[in-house]
């Protein structure tokens, strides 16, 4: 809503810089976790702009992530609102997305939203071998938590419960 381009769709394309485009795209929320943006999540990888064609490079969190199509549509809508007509959205798999790309501010937002943020992925290697994890409840900060299922409401989350406040919560899995 605060976009400087909001009422400026007739802007001359040659005046539009790559930074302007990046700024506009960085407002797009993730469709499944709307408190963080696709940029904070690390899905938005690159922007190429030659004043005619805009190429956006994105990478999926999980290979089967159903949100990718929605994200692509959101990017197209946003770019069209800037007056850009030639849009290419490129999906890349390499380098593979990792939770390490989620910024610290985004991790704070996740926790406030009720999703326990991922720890560093090297930490999670231990949990693959079944070792306990240093994880706290996003509601009451208790570390007395228990996993209900490794697979939660979306591919990127696991389901936990807090044994102190008794609330269930999602944990953003490390990959």
């Amino acid at each position: 809503m605060n976009s400087v381009f909001r009422n400026n769709t007739t802007m001359n394309l040659t005046q539009l810089s790559k930074e302007d485009i990046l700024l506009a795209l960085s407002e797009i929320p993730d469709p499944e976790i709307p408190v963080i943006t696709i940029e904070e999540l690390g899905i938005l990888r690159d922007v190429k702009w030659d004043c005619i064609t805009c190429t956006i490079v994105i990478t999926p969190t999980y290979t089967g992530c159903p949100a990718m199509k929605v994200i692509e549509d959101d990017i197209r809508i946003k770019l069209k609102s800037l007056g850009i007509e030639n849009i290419i959205v490129e999906l890349v798999y390499s380098p593979a997305w990792t939770t390490d790309w989620i910024s610290d501010t985004a991790k704070e937002k996740l926790e406030k939203y009720g999703i326990a943020p991922p720890e560093h992925s090297s930490v999670d290697k231990g949990t693959l071998l079944g070792k306990p994890r240093d994880l706290r409840c996003p509601h009451c900060s208790s570390k007395n938590v228990q996993m209900i299922s490794q697979f939660g409401s979306t591919a990127c989350k696991a389901l936990y419960r807090c044994l102190d406040c008794r609330e269930p919560f999602d944990y953003f899995k490390c990959i």
Partner: protein, 252 residues
């Protein structure tokens, strides 16, 4: 056979296996034994279908005949499918599904670990991405192997029955032909004998820990490399392909 032809064939083998086992798992949607498992199985199914999408997209590109990943998935007949026989086996009861997934997860865990080093950059990139997901799949099925195998008398027996029934399809996992020979030489695909060694070791360990017996049946069924399938694949394809074949222009 040219290198490109071998690559196309190989991508079909990988992609079809993911697609078919993903579709099988999706049949559990709404029927899981508990809600958490229902969600888990569908999440895993989604990983497989996503992996199939990227592999079949690349296969279509390598083939260069203008087909898309959807054409490959929906417009090929049974005999053109190259998925492993294990992946098309019916879900049976929950223990049977776990047995099938476990045998397959151990296989893909070691196979994709090797594919990460493929000299083909696209295959390597897909493998790096998928291996992270497979690691979670394997952990999930291994836990259920212990839980059911070392659980009640009934869960133990059901899982043992599942293993016994599926065992005959495991030699198909390691069958190699000219396609493999060409790609091994080019550094694109691994030697399946190497995967077999690691697979046998891990399966043996988990089966023993789960207090189960390694099946002793010597009956073997192979043929997925030539598209010789069990009767189950035809029924699966009929359901999976019905909509796009009946309404070829349908979009959703």
């Amino acid at each position: 056979m040219t290198l490109e032809q071998a690559k196309f064939e190989y991508l079909l083998r990988l992609g079809d296996s993911s697609l078919i086992i993903g579709h099988r798992l999706s049949e559990w949607c709404g029927h899981g034994p508990i809600l958490e498992e229902d969600i888990a199985l569908i999440n895993i199914a989604l990983d497989f279908v996503g992996n199939a999408t990227s592999l079949l997209t690349y296969a279509a590109q390598v083939e260069g005949k203008g087909r898309t990943e959807d054409d490959l998935a929906y417009l090929r007949n049974e005999r053109d499918y190259r998925n492993l026989l294990l992946t098309e086996q019916p879900n049976g009861d929950y223990a049977m599904t776990i047995a099938r997934q476990f045998l397959y997860d151990v296989y893909t865990y070691f196979l994709y670990e090797e594919l990460k080093n493929s000299k083909d950059e696209t295959i390597a990139a897909i493998a790096v991405k998928s291996h992270k997901e497979i690691t979670y799949h394997l952990r999930h099925t291994t836990e259920w192997m212990y839980r059911l195998g070392d659980g009640t008398e009934e869960s133990h027996q059901r899982l043992q029955n599942g293993l016994n029934e599926l065992w005959m399809f495991t030699s198909d996992l390691f069958d190699m032909d000219e396609v493999d020979a060409i790609l091994i030489k080019a550094g694109i695909a691994p030697d399946l004998n190497k995967i077999k060694e690691a697979w046998e070791k891990r399966v043996k360990e988990v089966v023993a820990e789960a207090t189960l017996q390694l099946p002793t049946s010597i009956a073997k069924q192979k043929g997925s490399r030539e598209g010789k399938h069990t009767e189950h694949l035809g029924y699966l394809l009929a359901e999976m392909q019905y909509l796009p074949r009946t309404y070829p222009t349908a979009k959703w």
